[in-house]
Amino acid sequence: MMDVFPYLVAGWVFLTGCYGLATSRNLIHAVGCLSVCQAGTYVLLLAVGYRDGATAPVFSDLKPGSRPVVDPVVQALTLTDVVVGATVTALLLALVVQISKRHGTVDPDELSELRG
C-alpha cells in the first residue's frame, strides 16, 4: 500500500485542483486552484526521489557517505519552480485585475457571455 500511496495523493491533489479550476465562478479562486494543481506536481516529484531511511544530501552538518541520501535532482527541479510559480501566480492575478477593470466582472461565465 505504502508503495503507491504518495503517488495517489499527488494525483488526487492535481485532479482536485483541475476540478476546482473547471467549476470556479471567480477567476481569483481559479488562480488559487491552479496553485493547488502545482502542489500536486511537487508532491509527485519529491515522492519519486525519496529513498527509505535516507536523509537530505546537504553536507553542512553531515559527513559525506555516512548516511544514505535522497535524490537531489528532483528537489532542484521543484525548488526553483516553487518560487517561479509564485511570480507566475502574481502575473495571473494581474491579468484578473485587468479583466475586472475592462469588463467589471471576474466570473468566467459572465465573461464568455460578454464576448457573445
Binding site: 536523509t55 537530505a56 546537504v58 553542512s60 552538518d61 553531515l62
Partner: protein, 150 residues
C-alpha cells in the same frame, strides 16, 4: 522511528490536523484563528523533526517559519480588518495551549542539545515563535487600543 519523530507525528496529526479542519469550515473568525494556530503547531513539529532526523541544519526551516508565520497572520488581520471588526475572534484558551506546546518543545530540545550556539538558536526560534503568535492573535482579536500614525 524514534521518540522525537513520534512526538512530531502526534503534534502534526493532532494540532495541525485540527487547524486544517478549523480553517476549512465555520465563520471567518474561526478560520483566522486556525490559520494562526497552524504556525504555532507546525513550528514545534519542524523543530522536533530536526532533532529526530539528527540534522541541526533543519532548524533554519523553523526559524523562517517563526519569523514569517506571524507576518502572514498580520497580513490577514490588516486586509480582512473590516470583516473581523464586525465579528472579532477570541480564542485565548487555544492560543495559550498552542504557545504552551512551543514552550514545552523548545526547552526539551535545549536539554537534548546541551549548552552551545545551537541551543541559543533554538531559544531565538522559541522566543520569535511564541512572541509572534501571541501578538498576532491579539492583533486578530482587535484587543489593542488603536493609535493613529505619526
Amino acid at each position: 522511528m524514534n521518540g522525537w519523530i513520534l512526538a512530531a507525528a502526534v503534534v502534526l496529526g493532532g494540532g495541525v490536523g485540527a487547524t486544517v479542519w478549523g480553517v476549512a469550515t465555520g465563520p471567518l473568525r474561526r478560520r483566522v484563528v486556525a490559520q494562526n494556530l497552524c504556525t504555532a503547531f507546525a513550528c514545534p513539529a519542524l523543530l522536533l523533526l530536526s532533532q529526530g532526523y539528527d540534522r541541526p541544519s533543519y532548524v533554519d526551516l523553523a526559524l523562517v517559519l517563526a519569523l514569517l508565520g506571524p507576518v502572514g497572520t498580520l497580513v490577514f488581520a490588516r486586509l480582512l480588518a473590516d470583516e473581523l471588526a464586525a465579528d472579532p475572534p477570541s480564542a485565548w484558551g487555544l492560543t495559550y495551549a498552542a504557545a504552551a506546546v512551543g514552550a514545552v518543545v523548545v526547552p526539551a530540545l535545549c536539554v537534548a542539545t546541551g549548552p552551545s550556539r545551537a541551543m541559543a538558536k533554538l531559544l531565538v526560534v522559541g522566543a520569535l515563535l511564541i512572541g509572534g503568535n501571541l501578538l498576532a492573535s491579539r492583533a486578530l482579536s482587535g484587543a489593542f487600543p488603536e493609535v493613529r500614525r505619526g
